[in-house]
Symmetry: C2
Subunit: 213 residues, 2 copies
């Protein structure tokens, strides 16, 4: 059990810290103070220190934070020190785009298989990753370790397939379908990527921006 629940607001900021620290590391920066980092990231130094202290004291008074150490610690917090196998359900454009995206592997996320219902895609490979027929899903999941399922199929099918995956013991779903999944097991971790929602937010801000001029 976690000592105290850490808010999602904090969690949402962690990958961003990780990204900035990665850049600093690449630039050969050895240490950084919360103040310097706050200027780069456009947040308050106070928030950085509060956020990090949710997980432990990673800094040193009078010195600041060691970039490499902090980078690695945040990596551990985010679970990047372990490999995650991902299967992608829906081998359409988005599914294939995910499979082609190499950067995920650097973070320990490996796409191991794609699934689709379209017979034309049977046996086709994307960057060496095989597209299976959806009815092979059960067999595949029994024979392979699968940590995450990415759902890129139409929203009408999402609930049914998601619950099929839950029954197969999947623990996490990365949901690109434009619905809020209704799962039989509430313990399954779900992360939504709703592109249309994102576009609507953008659109709202465009309208607002025009009004302000």
């Amino acid at each position: 059990m976690q000592e105290k629940e850490i808010s999602q607001a904090v969690i949402r900021r962690m990958p961003r810290y990780y990204r900035y620290l990665g850049e600093l590391l690449e630039d050969g920066v050895e240490r950084i103070s919360s103040n310097d980092l706050s200027k780069r990231m456009n947040v308050t130094a106070s928030q950085i220190r509060q956020d990090l202290n949710n997980f432990g004291g990673f800094g040193q008074q009078g010195y600041g934070y060691n970039v490499k150490f902090l980078y690695e610690e945040i990596g551990k917090i985010l679970g990047l020190n372990q490999k995650h196998n991902i299967i992608v359900i829906g081998a359409g454009n988005l599914g294939q785009a995910l499979a082609n995206y190499v950067k995920f592997e650097k973070l320990g996320f490996v796409i191991t298989a794609l699934f689709d219902v379209n017979p034309a895609l049977e046996g086709v490979t994307v960057r060496g990753i095989k597209i299976h027929m959806l009815d092979e899903l059960e067999d595949y999941c029994k024979d392979h370790v699968v940590d995450i399922a990415a759902l890129t199929m139409p929203k009408e099918k999402a609930d049914a397939i998601a619950n099929r995956l839950v029954n197969l013991g999947i623990q996490a779903i990365w949901n690109f379908a434009h619905v809020d999944l209704d799962l039989i097991d509430k313990d399954v971790v779900v992360e939504n990527v709703h592109l249309s929602d994102s576009l609507m937010q953008l659109s709202y801000n465009i309208v607002k921006n025009k009004q302000n001029k």
Copy 2:
């Protein structure tokens, strides 16, 4: 000028209301109370009423909200009553996936062109949408109305191209590159979709979930 600034927390929830109201509309539901909606959406009725009243009184005491009316009003708030032309910079897998995604058009977002540096893609079309070479960007933007530019190129190139777009008068950027853009004009609206960040959040919650067991 807007009366009072509406928080991004509220804005983030609006597309979700829109989605649920759309579903109700499809199901032929005529009216709904904040209480019934709150149960479906797993939020408090109070929050729904507060959120909506940022924009106006759309309901009626003793009756609730008219689904069709509210759906359309939220659509207007989100700017979905006007057409938005999108160009996509980077015609790789993700760029092509966006171009292929038909649902955006129902919301008024039309992808009109793709751009890439790869000569092999010159003249290729995706769902009838032409891929242009990147050096045609200036000419294209002068001859066509472009409301939004979606950036799907590698992060190293993102800042340079984003600022090229800003100089061409683009007002909004939908950024899929894994960086925070550093723009010369801070008035440009930016909406980030950081897929790696999303994956890291998912990964954090997987780790947490395991610990809690």
